[in-house]
Symmetry: C2
Subunit: 411 residues, 2 copies
């Protein structure tokens, strides 16, 4: 596979709270066309370091992509330093200059003098038009290396890559095409998943399989290559199917969809409706369900009943039940699910009550104890969970388990 490296340029990217999302996006795109990212670097507005990086990069990698540093200020050093590292001249391109001027005029402004820097072009490079900003990109072939320089803002960089660079790199990459798929699993532990599917996926070198444990979910990442994208997809179809046979309903998503998207689609298709009653998840389930566009078709209402009084008033939970079994109990969870369904006149009522911590746990009912319940017109089911993690994670995992209970009922 062809080797690429990505260099992100800009001192602001070295702050402790900044991640370089451009390189993730580019990696996805490059992998898909069969190019391997071997190295990623983040460097500040630092002439000497950048020059050394560029010199090394063009020697060791077939493709070098930089993002950032094409702005109009003194700090924007990419054009200048790349030219110097490659031993090429920097020339003013009148056509680019006129385009930048015209762009400013179209907003009723005069181009500030400093923006003329952005019309400087490395000798022999092609211009990559940037319809979403003033800084054009550059593309050049130099001593067997393909070099593309992009501006930093994703809304400028992404279409420039897709429209002007991707197809060139595809030709370089040759015949292999790659495809990726993410399967998501709920309701099983990581080792249980691996035990069931390792005998399957280890038989394949193509697709390659990686299992990731990602807060409340297990993700199975598959990556395949073939002569065409369709070939690669067919290999993914084949292995996905075998994994699904081994894990059954626990695989809830085959294209990376979220749990709430999967549940939402099933509700949409079946025409059923749902209402939600939450205690420890505090609105998280309602929020997740309603984050899906069009959710008003199947989600009518949710209540967050934090106090016992509100459980009784809003859901009709029996006061005696709360006194006898406590607010965190299977009895109350079941009553909440039935209550919200009845009052909202929906097909399903989904409820959660539990202790998310850090306080409020006891020996009998420790932090992490959660009851979930699901009611329809015929019966009510419930489940007792002991969830590990901090408050945020317990809430997330509880919401996931509740949505998963509904998903399984809808199959």
């Amino acid at each position: 596979m062809l080797a690429a490296e990505i260099i992100a340029i800009g001192s602001e990217l070295l702050a402790p709270d900044r991640t370089d999302t451009n390189s993730l996006w580019l990696t996805e795109k490059l992998n898909r066309i069969g190019i391997d990212v071997k190295l990623k670097t983040i460097v500040g507005d630092d002439d000497a370091r950048l020059e050394e990086l560029i010199k090394d990069a063009v020697k060791r990698s077939r493709v070098v992509i930089t993002t950032g540093g094409l702005g109009p200020t003194e700090d924007d050093i990419t054009r200048k330093v790349v030219a110097r590292a490659l031993g090429l001249r920097l020339l003013l391109d009148e056509k680019v200059l006129n385009e930048i001027r015209a762009r400013f005029q179209s907003f009723g402004m005069t181009m500030p003098e400093r923006n003329s820097r952005q019309a400087m072009v490395i000798d022999g490079a092609e211009i990559l038009p940037n319809p979403n900003g003033t800084a054009p990109g550059l593309y050049l072939e130099h001593e067997g290396c393909s070099i593309a320089l992009f501006p930093g803002p994703p809304r400028e960089m992404n279409p420039m890559f897709e429209n002007h660079v991707q197809s060139r790199l595809e030709k370089l990459a040759g015949d292999l095409r790659f495809a990726r798929r993410v399967l998501r699993v709920a309701g099983m532990g990581e080792s249980a998943v691996d035990e069931k599917i390792a005998p399957i996926y280890t038989r394949y070198e193509n697709p390659q399989t990686t299992i990731l444990f990602n807060s409340s979910e297990i993700e199975i990442h598959l990556r395949a290559h073939g002569r065409t994208e369709a070939d690669a997809e067919a290999l993914l179809d084949d292995l996905s199917l075998k994994i699904e046979e081994a894990l059954g309903n626990s695989v809830f998503s085959f294209r990376g969809e979220t749990m709430e998207e999967v549940v939402g689609r099933r509700l949409s298709i079946t025409g059923f409706t749902v209402a939600v009653a939450e205690s420890c998840t505090g609105g998280l389930i309602a929020q997740r369900l309603t984050n899906v566009p069009g959710s008003s078709k199947y989600f009518t209402e949710g209540v967050v009943t934090y106090s016992n009084e509100s459980k009784t008033r809003l859901l009709g939970v029996d006061k005696e039940l709360i006194r006898e079994f406590g607010a965190v109990s299977q009895q109350v969870a079941r009553d909440m699910a039935r209550g919200v369904r009845h009052r909202a006149h929906t097909d399903f009522g989904l409820a959660v009550t539990g202790i998310a911590g850090p306080d409020g746990g006891t020996e009998d009912k420790p932090v992490g104890l959660v009851y979930i319940a699901l009611a329809d017109d015929a019966h009510t089911e419930h489940k007792r969970l002991m969830l590990p993690g901090d408050r945020e994670l317990i809430r997330w995992r509880a919401s996931q388990a509740a949505l998963d209970m509904l998903r399984r009922r809808l199959i």
Copy 2:
């Protein structure tokens, strides 16, 4: 300032969905003691590239930190390649070997032979003990460069850095100490903020000021240095105060606290309670409020009334009002706030109704139109917002504006 670079090692870190969080953590730590991170690299399990990187790094940077690649498998190349790059031998350390054996024994296991690799030590390096894993770290001074090798898992790396490396680097860094602060702003646009505070912060070289626009919030990042941390903090205090004077109540957070933490603390202190009625935010406000530990003291209940029928049944919103003005109107928002307050018997009722899109917008009431309202016993206020962005962003911004309305009332 002393220059450092960080090298993250491991092919899995080059996947399109992995971010290198170790380098962010290390940057924060290094900056605090006055060391600048000049370069960050992510490299796979790739002998040649790693060797070149290490050679360049020790030449150009005073401090080089690597994370990852210290495990027991063939893929774990850090020890071997760093030794080769520095021209140093790799020796088996019997003491370390015995410690790894003992660690396995303490779990009732025999050490697999391959783990003996982890007892290989670069000639002249000091061992950094790792109480949370089998791979010890290494620290060495080589031709004027301080080099630390850490394992990749944060729960192993973080305490190893804090307990064994931080104080050495502090001595190297010399007398300057650094401090950082993040001020968060709500209810003002980015250019309005900059216009008000640029005349202030541009007068200071120390602290340095950066303004970041981060989804719904504007963050003002301040960084100062002084002879002691207290000196640096005093400089931050001084500039923060001036910025606060210029922006007034719009600065809601001085130490990076979230809006819900700030609102929660004010409710806690004052003893007031709140209930929430949400339409387009779908539970997001309740979820944010209840994400704060101890929120059951001031948050009693929330309702997510997606359907018109539920607005009437759960909140007592007048049907005629909905028919006359529509569910997305100031009249309905105000009625929702009054209704939820009245029924929940709380001090405040907070309500949101709007159109989050992508569908449901009309010419009169386009996507992004949101009304927020806040009721107490004496009166009800409301605000009309036109929020830009996609569904998720509109929902987030609406929740932020609503919480901010409550925060301002509590001042």
